[in-house]
Amino acid sequence: MQKNSVFINAAVLLVALFYSQTGFSASCCGGGSASSLLLPKAGQMMFDLSVDTEQYDGFWNSAGQHVSDPEGSDLSQLRINAGIGYRLSPNWQVSLVVPYVWNDNQYAGFETQTNGVGDSVASIWYEAFDVITCVYKVNSIADLKPSIYYGLSLTVPTGVSPYGDVANSFDITGRGFYRLDASLMMEKTVFPWNASLQLSHGVYVERPVNREYGNYVEPYDKNLGDRQLFTLSFGYTDQTEKLGTLTYTLAYADLSEKAGEIDGVIDPTGGLEKQSLSFTIAFSNFDKDKIYKLSYNKATDGKNFPATDVLTVGASYVFY
Protein backbone atom coordinates (compact mmCIF):
# COMPACT_ATOMS: atom_id res chain seq x y z
CA MET A 1 0.00 0.00 0.00
CA GLN A 2 2.71 2.41 0.98
CA LYS A 3 4.86 1.46 -2.02
CA ASN A 4 1.88 1.85 -4.32
CA SER A 5 1.21 5.34 -3.08
CA VAL A 6 4.81 6.27 -3.61
CA PHE A 7 4.66 5.03 -7.19
CA ILE A 8 1.55 7.07 -7.77
CA ASN A 9 3.14 10.12 -6.33
CA ALA A 10 6.20 9.81 -8.55
CA ALA A 11 4.11 9.40 -11.67
CA VAL A 12 1.85 12.34 -10.93
CA LEU A 13 4.74 14.54 -9.93
CA LEU A 14 6.56 13.99 -13.21
CA VAL A 15 3.46 14.77 -15.22
CA ALA A 16 2.73 17.83 -13.13
CA LEU A 17 6.26 19.10 -13.47
CA PHE A 18 6.28 18.91 -17.24
CA TYR A 19 2.97 20.67 -17.41
CA SER A 20 4.47 23.44 -15.35
CA GLN A 21 7.22 24.18 -17.81
CA THR A 22 7.39 27.31 -19.82
CA GLY A 23 6.23 26.80 -23.35
CA PHE A 24 7.45 28.90 -26.23
CA SER A 25 4.56 30.10 -28.25
CA ALA A 26 3.74 33.46 -29.80
CA SER A 27 2.30 32.85 -33.21
CA CYS A 28 3.67 36.11 -34.58
CA CYS A 29 7.18 35.17 -33.55
CA GLY A 30 7.16 31.54 -34.50
CA GLY A 31 5.68 29.33 -31.87
CA GLY A 32 3.91 26.12 -31.19
CA SER A 33 6.78 24.13 -29.77
CA ALA A 34 6.10 21.05 -27.73
CA SER A 35 7.74 20.20 -24.45
CA SER A 36 9.13 16.85 -23.38
CA LEU A 37 7.50 14.17 -21.28
CA LEU A 38 8.81 11.66 -18.76
CA LEU A 39 7.69 8.17 -17.84
CA PRO A 40 7.49 7.26 -14.15
CA LYS A 41 10.13 4.78 -13.03
CA ALA A 42 7.92 1.74 -13.17
CA GLY A 43 6.16 2.71 -16.38
CA GLN A 44 6.78 0.87 -19.63
CA MET A 45 4.92 3.16 -21.98
CA MET A 46 2.77 6.26 -21.76
CA PHE A 47 0.35 8.09 -24.01
CA ASP A 48 -0.27 11.72 -23.29
CA LEU A 49 -2.72 14.17 -24.77
CA SER A 50 -3.08 17.78 -23.69
CA VAL A 51 -4.71 20.96 -24.86
CA ASP A 52 -3.12 24.37 -24.29
CA THR A 53 -5.11 27.54 -24.71
CA GLU A 54 -2.83 30.54 -24.74
CA GLN A 55 -4.17 34.07 -24.53
CA TYR A 56 -2.01 37.08 -25.36
CA ASP A 57 -2.02 40.21 -23.28
CA GLY A 58 0.47 42.63 -24.80
CA PHE A 59 4.20 42.13 -24.63
CA TRP A 60 7.38 43.19 -22.89
CA ASN A 61 9.65 45.24 -25.10
CA SER A 62 13.42 44.96 -25.20
CA ALA A 63 13.66 47.33 -22.22
CA GLY A 64 11.35 45.10 -20.17
CA GLN A 65 8.42 47.53 -20.24
CA HIS A 66 4.97 46.07 -20.75
CA VAL A 67 3.17 47.34 -23.86
CA SER A 68 -0.50 46.68 -24.55
CA ASP A 69 -1.77 45.17 -27.80
CA PRO A 70 -3.69 47.50 -30.12
CA GLU A 71 -7.20 48.25 -28.91
CA GLY A 72 -9.74 45.79 -30.25
CA SER A 73 -7.26 42.96 -30.69
CA ASP A 74 -7.80 39.41 -29.47
CA LEU A 75 -4.84 37.09 -30.01
CA SER A 76 -4.78 33.45 -29.00
CA GLN A 77 -3.28 30.09 -29.79
CA LEU A 78 -4.69 26.61 -29.20
CA ARG A 79 -2.35 23.63 -29.15
CA ILE A 80 -3.09 19.94 -28.95
CA ASN A 81 -0.01 18.00 -27.90
CA ALA A 82 0.13 14.28 -28.60
CA GLY A 83 2.94 12.45 -26.86
CA ILE A 84 4.26 8.97 -26.38
CA GLY A 85 6.91 7.77 -23.97
CA TYR A 86 8.56 4.36 -24.11
CA ARG A 87 10.97 2.65 -21.75
CA LEU A 88 13.97 1.09 -23.46
CA SER A 89 15.54 -0.38 -20.33
CA PRO A 90 15.27 0.07 -16.56
CA ASN A 91 17.17 3.37 -16.75
CA TRP A 92 16.59 4.62 -20.29
CA GLN A 93 13.47 6.01 -21.90
CA VAL A 94 12.53 7.90 -25.05
CA SER A 95 9.61 10.14 -25.93
CA LEU A 96 8.10 12.01 -28.84
CA VAL A 97 5.68 14.94 -28.61
CA VAL A 98 3.98 16.43 -31.66
CA PRO A 99 1.80 19.53 -31.32
CA TYR A 100 -0.95 20.71 -33.64
CA VAL A 101 -1.50 24.46 -33.51
CA TRP A 102 -4.40 26.77 -34.22
CA ASN A 103 -3.60 30.49 -34.41
CA ASP A 104 -6.48 32.93 -34.03
CA ASN A 105 -5.50 36.58 -34.35
CA GLN A 106 -8.07 39.35 -34.51
CA TYR A 107 -7.25 43.02 -34.71
CA ALA A 108 -9.68 45.83 -35.40
CA GLY A 109 -8.46 45.95 -38.99
CA PHE A 110 -7.08 42.50 -39.55
CA GLU A 111 -8.22 38.98 -38.85
CA THR A 112 -6.62 35.64 -39.51
CA GLN A 113 -7.05 32.02 -38.47
CA THR A 114 -4.64 29.28 -39.39
CA ASN A 115 -3.58 25.86 -38.20
CA GLY A 116 -0.85 23.31 -38.71
CA VAL A 117 1.68 21.02 -37.10
CA GLY A 118 4.06 22.74 -34.69
CA ASP A 119 7.68 21.90 -33.91
CA SER A 120 8.07 18.39 -32.49
CA VAL A 121 10.36 17.22 -29.71
CA ALA A 122 12.10 13.83 -29.49
CA SER A 123 13.85 13.08 -26.22
CA ILE A 124 15.98 10.46 -24.56
CA TRP A 125 16.37 10.35 -20.78
CA TYR A 126 18.71 8.49 -18.46
CA GLU A 127 17.59 7.90 -14.90
CA ALA A 128 20.60 7.95 -12.57
CA PHE A 129 18.85 5.90 -9.90
CA ASP A 130 17.70 2.32 -9.75
CA VAL A 131 14.89 2.52 -7.23
CA ILE A 132 12.39 5.23 -6.51
CA THR A 133 13.76 7.74 -4.03
CA CYS A 134 10.43 8.90 -2.61
CA VAL A 135 10.26 8.41 1.14
CA TYR A 136 7.71 8.93 3.88
CA LYS A 137 10.19 9.84 6.54
CA VAL A 138 13.79 10.91 6.58
CA ASN A 139 15.67 8.54 8.85
CA SER A 140 19.13 8.95 7.43
CA ILE A 141 21.17 11.00 5.01
CA ALA A 142 20.56 8.34 2.37
CA ASP A 143 16.84 9.11 2.50
CA LEU A 144 17.58 12.58 1.13
CA LYS A 145 18.98 11.23 -2.11
CA PRO A 146 17.03 12.74 -5.00
CA SER A 147 16.00 11.19 -8.29
CA ILE A 148 18.26 12.56 -11.01
CA TYR A 149 17.45 12.54 -14.70
CA TYR A 150 19.75 13.46 -17.57
CA GLY A 151 18.05 14.24 -20.85
CA LEU A 152 18.73 15.15 -24.45
CA SER A 153 15.92 16.62 -26.51
CA LEU A 154 15.90 17.36 -30.20
CA THR A 155 13.40 19.93 -31.44
CA VAL A 156 12.59 19.14 -35.06
CA PRO A 157 11.21 22.00 -37.21
CA THR A 158 8.04 20.23 -38.31
CA GLY A 159 6.07 23.47 -37.96
CA VAL A 160 5.53 26.13 -40.59
CA SER A 161 8.30 28.71 -40.25
CA PRO A 162 8.91 32.17 -41.77
CA TYR A 163 11.39 30.59 -44.19
CA GLY A 164 9.01 28.58 -46.31
CA ASP A 165 5.98 29.07 -48.49
CA VAL A 166 4.01 31.16 -46.03
CA ALA A 167 2.98 34.73 -46.78
CA ASN A 168 1.92 35.96 -43.38
CA SER A 169 3.63 36.02 -40.01
CA PHE A 170 0.37 34.93 -38.39
CA ASP A 171 0.50 31.59 -40.23
CA ILE A 172 3.67 30.49 -38.48
CA THR A 173 3.50 27.40 -36.29
CA GLY A 174 7.22 26.75 -35.80
CA ARG A 175 10.60 28.45 -35.65
CA GLY A 176 12.34 26.64 -38.51
CA PHE A 177 15.44 25.50 -36.59
CA TYR A 178 16.70 22.24 -35.16
CA ARG A 179 17.61 22.60 -31.50
CA LEU A 180 19.40 20.24 -29.12
CA ASP A 181 18.71 20.65 -25.39
CA ALA A 182 20.68 19.02 -22.61
CA SER A 183 18.71 18.79 -19.38
CA LEU A 184 19.29 17.91 -15.78
CA MET A 185 16.36 17.29 -13.50
CA MET A 186 16.42 16.53 -9.79
CA GLU A 187 13.34 15.58 -7.87
CA LYS A 188 12.76 14.65 -4.27
CA THR A 189 9.64 13.56 -2.49
CA VAL A 190 9.25 13.29 1.23
CA PHE A 191 5.62 12.37 1.25
CA PRO A 192 3.41 14.37 1.01
CA TRP A 193 5.80 17.12 -0.03
CA ASN A 194 7.97 17.25 -3.11
CA ALA A 195 10.36 19.59 -4.86
CA SER A 196 12.13 19.57 -8.18
CA LEU A 197 14.71 21.52 -10.09
CA GLN A 198 15.31 21.42 -13.81
CA LEU A 199 18.10 23.05 -15.79
CA SER A 200 18.25 22.99 -19.58
CA HIS A 201 20.64 24.43 -22.10
CA GLY A 202 19.66 24.45 -25.76
CA VAL A 203 21.76 25.04 -28.86
CA TYR A 204 20.24 25.76 -32.26
CA VAL A 205 21.71 24.50 -35.50
CA GLU A 206 22.62 27.18 -38.02
CA ARG A 207 20.72 26.98 -41.30
CA PRO A 208 20.70 28.67 -44.68
CA VAL A 209 17.76 30.93 -45.54
CA ASN A 210 16.78 31.82 -49.09
CA ARG A 211 13.16 32.70 -48.49
CA GLU A 212 11.24 34.94 -46.10
CA TYR A 213 7.47 34.72 -45.86
CA GLY A 214 7.24 33.25 -49.34
CA ASN A 215 9.54 35.79 -51.00
CA TYR A 216 12.91 34.56 -52.24
CA VAL A 217 15.76 36.70 -50.91
CA GLU A 218 19.53 36.82 -51.19
CA PRO A 219 20.64 33.67 -49.31
CA TYR A 220 22.20 34.02 -45.88
CA ASP A 221 22.99 31.87 -42.87
CA LYS A 222 21.02 32.35 -39.69
CA ASN A 223 21.21 30.94 -36.20
CA LEU A 224 19.26 31.61 -33.03
CA GLY A 225 20.97 32.20 -29.70
CA ASP A 226 21.54 29.61 -26.99
CA ARG A 227 18.54 28.97 -24.80
CA GLN A 228 18.41 28.36 -21.05
CA LEU A 229 15.53 27.17 -18.95
CA PHE A 230 15.44 27.01 -15.16
CA THR A 231 12.42 25.54 -13.42
CA LEU A 232 11.85 25.17 -9.71
CA SER A 233 8.73 23.55 -8.34
CA PHE A 234 7.18 22.59 -5.04
CA GLY A 235 4.25 20.26 -4.60
CA TYR A 236 1.93 18.69 -2.10
CA THR A 237 0.10 15.41 -2.53
CA ASP A 238 -3.23 14.61 -0.96
CA GLN A 239 -4.88 11.21 -0.96
CA THR A 240 -8.50 10.91 -2.03
CA GLU A 241 -11.15 8.63 -0.55
CA LYS A 242 -10.65 5.93 -3.18
CA LEU A 243 -6.89 6.00 -2.70
CA GLY A 244 -6.26 8.14 -5.69
CA THR A 245 -4.05 11.18 -5.30
CA LEU A 246 -4.30 14.87 -5.95
CA THR A 247 -1.01 16.69 -6.38
CA TYR A 248 -0.78 20.45 -6.26
CA THR A 249 2.35 21.94 -7.82
CA LEU A 250 3.56 25.50 -7.89
CA ALA A 251 6.40 26.17 -10.31
CA TYR A 252 8.57 29.08 -11.29
CA ALA A 253 10.26 29.06 -14.69
CA ASP A 254 12.88 31.37 -16.13
CA LEU A 255 13.47 31.13 -19.87
CA SER A 256 16.07 33.11 -21.76
CA GLU A 257 17.46 33.04 -25.25
CA LYS A 258 20.52 34.96 -26.36
CA ALA A 259 20.61 37.04 -29.52
CA GLY A 260 21.06 35.05 -32.69
CA GLU A 261 23.47 35.54 -35.56
CA ILE A 262 23.08 36.34 -39.23
CA ASP A 263 26.07 35.46 -41.39
CA GLY A 264 28.10 35.23 -38.20
CA VAL A 265 27.14 38.72 -36.96
CA ILE A 266 25.15 39.01 -33.74
CA ASP A 267 21.62 40.31 -34.27
CA PRO A 268 21.28 43.30 -31.89
CA THR A 269 17.49 43.10 -32.05
CA GLY A 270 17.31 39.43 -30.99
CA GLY A 271 17.19 37.59 -27.70
CA LEU A 272 14.35 37.20 -25.22
CA GLU A 273 13.52 36.60 -21.59
CA LYS A 274 10.45 35.26 -19.91
CA GLN A 275 9.61 34.47 -16.31
CA SER A 276 6.44 32.65 -15.41
CA LEU A 277 4.54 31.06 -12.56
CA SER A 278 2.31 28.06 -12.92
CA PHE A 279 -0.05 26.08 -10.76
CA THR A 280 -0.96 22.51 -11.60
CA ILE A 281 -3.46 20.09 -10.14
CA ALA A 282 -2.95 16.47 -11.16
CA PHE A 283 -5.17 13.55 -10.25
CA SER A 284 -4.18 9.92 -10.43
CA ASN A 285 -6.35 6.87 -9.83
CA PHE A 286 -5.40 4.10 -7.44
CA ASP A 287 -3.94 1.94 -10.22
CA LYS A 288 -1.71 4.87 -11.16
CA ASP A 289 -2.31 4.32 -14.87
CA LYS A 290 -4.60 7.27 -15.49
CA ILE A 291 -3.49 10.82 -14.76
CA TYR A 292 -5.52 13.94 -15.39
CA LYS A 293 -4.15 17.42 -15.00
CA LEU A 294 -5.16 21.02 -15.10
CA SER A 295 -2.52 23.74 -15.23
CA TYR A 296 -2.47 27.50 -15.36
CA ASN A 297 0.67 29.36 -16.40
CA LYS A 298 1.06 33.11 -16.19
CA ALA A 299 3.98 35.03 -17.65
CA THR A 300 5.05 37.46 -14.95
CA ASP A 301 7.92 39.33 -16.55
CA GLY A 302 10.08 39.34 -19.64
CA LYS A 303 11.92 41.11 -22.40
CA ASN A 304 11.18 41.07 -26.10
CA PHE A 305 8.42 38.53 -25.56
CA PRO A 306 4.62 38.38 -25.48
CA ALA A 307 2.81 38.32 -22.14
CA THR A 308 0.55 35.31 -22.11
CA ASP A 309 -1.68 33.17 -19.92
CA VAL A 310 -1.80 29.45 -20.70
CA LEU A 311 -4.48 27.06 -19.50
CA THR A 312 -3.67 23.40 -20.02
CA VAL A 313 -5.93 20.39 -19.68
CA GLY A 314 -4.49 16.95 -20.27
CA ALA A 315 -4.60 13.24 -19.66
CA SER A 316 -1.98 10.51 -19.57
CA TYR A 317 -2.29 6.75 -19.68
CA VAL A 318 0.62 4.75 -18.33
CA PHE A 319 1.30 1.07 -19.08
CA TYR A 320 3.17 -0.77 -16.33
Partner: protein, 179 residues
Protein backbone atom coordinates in the same frame (compact mmCIF):
# COMPACT_ATOMS: atom_id res chain seq x y z
CA UNK B 1 6.48 -2.49 -30.11
CA UNK B 2 4.69 -3.09 -33.40
CA UNK B 3 2.33 -0.23 -32.64
CA UNK B 4 5.20 2.17 -31.97
CA UNK B 5 6.91 1.28 -35.23
CA UNK B 6 3.72 1.87 -37.19
CA UNK B 7 3.10 5.17 -35.41
CA UNK B 8 6.63 6.42 -36.09
CA UNK B 9 6.48 5.37 -39.73
CA UNK B 10 3.11 7.08 -40.20
CA UNK B 11 4.46 10.24 -38.59
CA UNK B 12 7.49 10.33 -40.86
CA UNK B 13 5.40 9.77 -43.96
CA UNK B 14 3.05 12.57 -42.93
CA UNK B 15 5.94 14.97 -42.43
CA UNK B 16 7.72 14.12 -45.67
CA UNK B 17 4.48 14.60 -47.56
CA UNK B 18 4.30 18.23 -46.54
CA UNK B 19 6.29 20.60 -48.75
CA UNK B 20 6.17 23.43 -46.23
CA UNK B 21 7.96 21.32 -43.66
CA UNK B 22 10.58 20.20 -46.18
CA UNK B 23 11.74 23.85 -46.42
CA UNK B 24 12.84 23.64 -42.79
CA UNK B 25 13.89 20.01 -42.44
CA UNK B 26 16.29 20.35 -45.35
CA UNK B 27 16.82 24.08 -45.97
CA UNK B 28 18.36 25.35 -49.19
CA UNK B 29 20.99 28.03 -49.77
CA UNK B 30 20.19 28.30 -53.46
CA UNK B 31 19.49 31.80 -54.76
CA UNK B 32 16.03 31.49 -56.31
CA UNK B 33 15.14 35.15 -56.67
CA UNK B 34 13.21 35.64 -59.92
CA UNK B 35 14.59 37.92 -62.61
CA UNK B 36 12.78 41.22 -63.01
CA UNK B 37 12.86 43.88 -65.72
CA UNK B 38 14.75 46.83 -64.26
CA UNK B 39 12.59 49.94 -64.01
CA UNK B 40 9.31 48.12 -64.56
CA UNK B 41 6.49 48.70 -62.10
CA UNK B 42 6.53 46.27 -59.19
CA UNK B 43 7.69 45.52 -55.69
CA UNK B 44 10.97 43.64 -56.29
CA UNK B 45 14.46 45.09 -56.06
CA UNK B 46 15.22 47.06 -59.23
CA UNK B 47 11.59 47.84 -60.01
CA UNK B 48 9.78 51.18 -59.80
CA UNK B 49 7.83 51.20 -56.53
CA UNK B 50 4.09 50.91 -56.95
CA UNK B 51 2.58 54.19 -55.91
CA UNK B 52 0.02 54.56 -53.15
CA UNK B 53 -1.74 57.09 -50.98
CA UNK B 54 -2.17 56.45 -47.27
CA UNK B 55 -3.42 58.55 -44.40
CA UNK B 56 -1.07 59.03 -41.48
CA UNK B 57 -2.16 58.96 -37.84
CA UNK B 58 -2.51 62.77 -37.82
CA UNK B 59 -4.99 62.65 -40.68
CA UNK B 60 -2.68 63.79 -43.47
CA UNK B 61 -2.65 62.01 -46.83
CA UNK B 62 0.78 60.88 -47.94
CA UNK B 63 1.49 60.02 -51.58
CA UNK B 64 4.54 57.83 -51.97
CA UNK B 65 5.62 59.34 -55.28
CA UNK B 66 5.59 62.78 -53.67
CA UNK B 67 7.86 61.61 -50.87
CA UNK B 68 10.75 59.71 -52.40
CA UNK B 69 12.07 62.58 -54.58
CA UNK B 70 12.49 64.60 -51.37
CA UNK B 71 14.82 62.11 -49.69
CA UNK B 72 18.00 60.17 -50.35
CA UNK B 73 15.91 57.14 -49.52
CA UNK B 74 12.47 56.34 -48.17
CA UNK B 75 12.17 53.40 -45.80
CA UNK B 76 8.82 51.67 -45.38
CA UNK B 77 8.60 49.44 -42.30
CA UNK B 78 5.53 47.24 -41.80
CA UNK B 79 4.55 46.95 -38.14
CA UNK B 80 1.92 45.02 -36.23
CA UNK B 81 3.09 46.44 -32.88
CA UNK B 82 4.58 43.20 -31.62
CA UNK B 83 7.82 42.58 -29.67
CA UNK B 84 9.79 41.82 -32.83
CA UNK B 85 8.50 44.99 -34.52
CA UNK B 86 9.23 47.00 -31.41
CA UNK B 87 12.84 45.83 -31.27
CA UNK B 88 13.27 46.77 -34.95
CA UNK B 89 11.63 50.18 -34.61
CA UNK B 90 13.53 50.92 -31.44
CA UNK B 91 16.78 50.03 -33.20
CA UNK B 92 15.99 52.35 -36.12
CA UNK B 93 15.26 55.20 -33.76
CA UNK B 94 18.34 54.60 -31.64
CA UNK B 95 20.93 53.93 -34.33
CA UNK B 96 19.70 54.81 -37.80
CA UNK B 97 17.63 57.99 -37.80
CA UNK B 98 20.53 60.18 -36.71
CA UNK B 99 23.00 58.34 -38.91
CA UNK B 100 20.91 58.88 -42.04
CA UNK B 101 19.33 62.33 -41.69
CA UNK B 102 18.34 62.47 -45.36
CA UNK B 103 16.39 59.23 -45.14
CA UNK B 104 12.67 59.25 -44.35
CA UNK B 105 11.48 56.41 -42.11
CA UNK B 106 7.77 55.61 -42.45
CA UNK B 107 6.05 52.94 -40.36
CA UNK B 108 3.01 51.26 -41.91
CA UNK B 109 0.43 49.90 -39.45
CA UNK B 110 -1.54 47.15 -41.21
CA UNK B 111 -3.44 45.72 -38.25
CA UNK B 112 -5.14 48.48 -36.30
CA UNK B 113 -7.67 49.31 -38.99
CA UNK B 114 -8.55 52.90 -38.09
CA UNK B 115 -6.61 56.14 -38.02
CA UNK B 116 -7.73 56.95 -34.48
CA UNK B 117 -6.93 53.46 -33.24
CA UNK B 118 -3.54 53.52 -34.89
CA UNK B 119 -2.77 56.90 -33.33
CA UNK B 120 -3.68 55.53 -29.93
CA UNK B 121 -1.43 52.51 -30.46
CA UNK B 122 1.38 54.72 -31.73
CA UNK B 123 1.19 56.76 -28.53
CA UNK B 124 0.96 53.77 -26.21
CA UNK B 125 3.93 52.14 -27.93
CA UNK B 126 5.94 55.34 -27.69
CA UNK B 127 6.54 56.17 -31.36
CA UNK B 128 5.04 59.63 -31.73
CA UNK B 129 8.35 60.85 -33.16
CA UNK B 130 7.74 58.80 -36.32
CA UNK B 131 5.21 59.09 -39.11
CA UNK B 132 2.84 56.12 -39.00
CA UNK B 133 0.76 55.39 -42.08
CA UNK B 134 -2.47 53.45 -41.64
CA UNK B 135 -3.14 50.66 -44.10
CA UNK B 136 -6.79 50.25 -43.12
CA UNK B 137 -7.64 47.66 -45.79
CA UNK B 138 -4.26 45.87 -45.95
CA UNK B 139 -4.09 46.86 -49.60
CA UNK B 140 -0.50 48.14 -49.42
CA UNK B 141 0.62 45.20 -47.31
CA UNK B 142 -0.75 42.82 -49.93
CA UNK B 143 0.65 44.75 -52.89
CA UNK B 144 4.15 44.73 -51.39
CA UNK B 145 3.91 41.10 -50.18
CA UNK B 146 4.75 42.48 -46.77
CA UNK B 147 4.28 41.13 -43.27
CA UNK B 148 5.67 41.73 -39.79
CA UNK B 149 9.12 43.32 -40.08
CA UNK B 150 9.21 43.81 -43.83
CA UNK B 151 11.45 46.67 -44.93
CA UNK B 152 11.13 48.35 -48.32
CA UNK B 153 13.79 50.88 -49.30
CA UNK B 154 13.07 53.23 -52.21
CA UNK B 155 15.63 55.60 -53.69
CA UNK B 156 14.96 59.16 -54.79
CA UNK B 157 13.96 58.04 -58.27
CA UNK B 158 11.44 55.55 -56.96
CA UNK B 159 13.48 52.40 -57.56
CA UNK B 160 13.28 49.71 -54.88
CA UNK B 161 16.69 48.80 -53.49
CA UNK B 162 15.54 46.43 -50.75
CA UNK B 163 12.39 44.50 -49.98
CA UNK B 164 12.85 41.85 -47.29
CA UNK B 165 12.80 41.23 -43.56
CA UNK B 166 14.56 43.71 -41.27
CA UNK B 167 16.63 40.92 -39.68
CA UNK B 168 19.65 42.44 -37.88
CA UNK B 169 19.62 45.80 -39.76
CA UNK B 170 22.98 45.05 -41.43
CA UNK B 171 21.42 44.76 -44.88
CA UNK B 172 19.41 47.93 -44.33
CA UNK B 173 22.53 49.80 -43.18
CA UNK B 174 24.49 48.56 -46.17
CA UNK B 175 21.75 49.62 -48.58
CA UNK B 176 21.38 53.08 -47.04
CA UNK B 177 25.11 53.71 -46.78
CA UNK B 178 25.65 53.44 -50.54
CA UNK B 179 22.76 55.71 -51.47
Amino acid sequence: MYFIKVALLASLLALVACDQIEDDLNPSSEDLRPDVVAGSDGTAVGQLALDFTLEDTLGNDLILSDEYPLNTATVLYFTMWCPVCDSHMSYMRQYMVAQYPDVEFLFIDYVTGTVSGSRQTQISNGYTDFTVLVDTTNAIQNIYNATMGTVVVIDSSGIITMNEDFKDAVKLSNVLSIM
